[in-house]
Amino acid sequence: MATITTSDARLHTLPPATGRAGLRGALASEFTKLRSVRSTYWALGALLIVSIGVGALVMGGESGSLTHNPGNKAGFDGTQVSLIPFFEIGQLIIGVLGALTITSEYSTGMIRTSLTAMPRRGVVYAAKAIVFTSVTLVFALITSFVAFFVGQAMVAGTGVGASLFGNVKIPANAIFTGPGSPGSPPKVTLQGIDVISASTVLRAVVGTALFVTLVALIAFGLGAIIRHTAGAVATVIGLMFIIPVVIQALPDSWRWDIMRFFPDAAGRVISVTVSGGGNQHLWSSWPQMIVTACYAVGLLAIGAYMFRKRDA
C-alpha cells in the first residue's frame, strides 16, 4: 500500500493514527480556509481603511469646526466621534465577512467536501466560529485603537481630544451670549467642566471593538441559517440599519420603549464618554451590550442547530 503505480510519484505510508479527528485539526483547517481566500483580506483591509480613514476625515473636519467655533467644544465626545465610522460602517464590512465565512461554503459547494473530510458537524461549526471570532476580535481591537489614536491626533491642539493615559477636562455647556460679527460664529461662554477619565475612554474603545465583533457573529449566525450570502448580508443590514430607522419613525412613546431591545443600540452607548450623551431611553453600556450579545448567541445557536440538522 505504500506506493501507487499510476505515475512516478510515490505516496509514503502515513504514520499510524491515534485518537480521533477533533477540534484541534478543525481549528487549523478553518484558519487555513480563512487565510487562503482573498475575500478575507479585502474585508479586513476595507475594515481598517474605512474605519480609520473615514474616522480621520471626520475628526479633521471636527478640528476645523472646534477651532473656528469654540462653542462646539462643549460636550465634544472625541472618542465616540472618532469611532463612529468603525461601528457604523465597519460593522457592516465585518458582517459581510462573517456571513461569507459560512455562506461561501454553500455557494461554492465546498461544504460537501468539508463535511466529507470532517463529518462531525458540531466540531466544524465550533471551529469556524472560534477562528472567525478570534480573528475578528483581534482586527476589531486594532481598528478601534488605531481609529481612536488617529482621530485624537487630528484634534490635537483643540484641548478637547480624549486620552487613554490621563483624564481630560472639557467644557460641559456653551451659553449663547450674542451674535458674532458677520462671518464669525456666535459669541458663547463655556461653562462647567466634564471630566473624561482614561478608564471611560478605554471602556469605549474596547467596548466598541466588542460590539463590532458581536455584530460579526450575528452575521455569522444568519449566514448559517440562511446559507446564502446576499440573503444573509441583506438581513444584517435590515437588522442593524433598516429596523433602527423604522423605529425612529415610530411615535416617541413607542420607540422609547422598544429601541433598547435591538442589537444596534449598544454601539451608540458603549462609545459614549461624556455625560448626558443623549441616550436616556437606552440602558447603560454593558446591559445594552448584553442585548446585542443575546442576539449573537441566539443566532449562533439557531445556526448551529440548522447546520447540524439540515442536509448539506
Partner: protein, 315 residues
C-alpha cells in the same frame, strides 16, 4: 466494508431512494449503475452523512460515517469535483482538508505530484478545467490513504485521456486491496473496470451481482431466422418448447434454441433457411433493458416499442 440497510431518502413528496439494501465488499471495484435520477448520488450522500436518511442505516466498518475516528483514513470520496472554493489554491484546498484529519502536511505535496497538479498547486482552482478539477478531487480522496474509495460519475465530461487515467487509477487502487465504489449511468464505463455491480432504478435495487453473473443473466441470446416457410417453422419450434416471435420484416426471433439446433430442425422438417444468426445483446443493451421501466425522465416513445422484459429481481 460498507453496509446499506433499508435506506430510504425522501425529498418532499419525492422518494429518491427506496428501502435500498446492499453491501460493498473490500478489494474489488463495485460499479453503481442506474439511469440519471436513479438515486446514486443520494445514496452516496447518505453513506457520507451529507444527507440524513429518513429510514435505514449505513455503516462503514460497522460504524456510522460521522463516528469514524479519522474519516479520511477510511473513506476517500469524490461526489462533485466542482465542490471547492474556487478562490483557494489547490495546495491550500488540500491542506485545509488534510488538517481536519491531522494528516501530515507533506502528504499534500505527494498527492499533488501523484495526480500531476504540482505545477499549478499555487493557482486558484476556479481557473481549472474540469479534468484538472477532477484530478484535484481525486488528490483529496487519496490524502488519508483510505481503504475505501468512492467516486460519483468520475468520468463525466472528461476527455479520453482523462477517462483512461481514472480507469487505470481505479484498477490500481483495487489491485492494492482497496474497495472502489464507483457510480455511472453508462454501462460501457463499467464493462472493463467493475468486478461487482449494483444496479438501481428509481431508488430501488434492480440487481446486485458479479459482473459475470450480470453478463450470463442478461446476454439472453436469441437467434434470428429468415425463411419462406415462416408459419410452418414457428410451429415446429414451438413444438420443441422454444419461443418464437415473428417480426414485422418477416424474420423470426427464437429464444431457447441454438443455431445448431435450429439448423438441424430445419433440415429434418425440409424447410429452406435464408438466414440463421445469433443475436447477442451487448452489456449496454442489457442494462437498458434492465432499467427501461425505471428511467426517471424519458423521451416520449410509443408504448408498443418499449422493451418490456426485465431481468433480475426487485421489479
Amino acid at each position: 466494508m460498507i453496509e446499506v440497510r433499508g435506506l430510504t431518502k425522501r425529498y418532499g413528496a419525492k422518494t429518491a431512494v427506496d428501502s435500498l439494501t446492499f453491501g460493498i465488499e473490500p478489494g474489488k471495484v463495485t460499479g453503481f449503475l442506474g439511469p440519471n435520477g436513479a438515486g446514486k448520488t443520494t445514496t452516496m450522500r447518505c453513506i457520507l452523512g451529507l444527507d440524513y436518511a429518513d429510514e435505514g442505516t449505513v455503516t462503514v466498518d460497522g460504524k456510522s460515517y460521522p463516528g469514524l475516528a479519522y474519516p479520511m483514513r477510511e473513506v476517500g470520496a469524490l461526489i462533485d469535483a466542482k465542490a471547492v472554493h474556487g478562490g483557494r489554491s489547490a495546495r491550500n484546498h488540500l491542506l485545509c482538508l488534510a488538517q481536519t484529519n491531522s494528516l501530515p502536511k507533506r502528504r499534500v505535496g505527494e498527492v499533488l505530484e501523484l495526480v500531476g497538479l504540482t505545477e499549478v498547486a499555487g493557482k486558484r482552482s476556479k481557473g481549472f478545467s474540469l479534468g484538472m478539477s477532477q484530478r484535484l478531487g481525486i488528490a483529496a480522496t487519496l490524502l488519508g490513504d483510505p481503504k475505501v474509495l468512492m467516486f460519483d460519475e468520475p468520468v463525466n465530461g472528461l476527455d479520453p485521456e482523462g477517462i483512461l487515467w481514472i480507469r487505470n487509477l481505479m484498477r490500481a487502487m483495487a489491485a492494492e486491496g482497496r474497495t472502489v465504489f464507483v457510480s455511472s449511468h453508462l454501462m460501457s464505463e463499467m464493462e472493463h473496470t467493475a468486478d461487482h455491480l449494483i444496479v438501481i432504478g428509481r431508488g430501488k435495487l434492480i440487481a446486485d451481482c458479479t459482473m459475470r453473473e450480470f453478463i450470463a443473466g442478461s446476454s439472453g441470446a436469441s437467434v434470428r431466422v429468415r425463411t419462406p416457410s415462416a408459419e410452418e417453422f414457428v410451429r415446429a419450434i414451438t413444438a420443441k418448447g422454444a419461443t418464437a416471435a415473428t417480426d414485422e420484416d418477416g424474420s423470426i426471433e427464437v429464444r431457447g434454441m441454438t443455431t445448431e439446433q435450429l439448423g438441424d430442425l430445419a433440415f429434418s422438417e425440409g424447410i429452406r433457411l435464408h438466414e440463421l444468426t445469433t443475436v447477442r445483446a451487448s452489456l449496454e443493451e442489457a442494462f437498458m433493458e434492465l432499467t427501461a421501466s425505471s428511467v426517471e425522465y424519458r423521451a416520449d416513445v410509443p408504448s408498443d416499442q418499449q422493451p418490456s422484459t426485465t431481468i433480475g429481481s426487485g421489479v
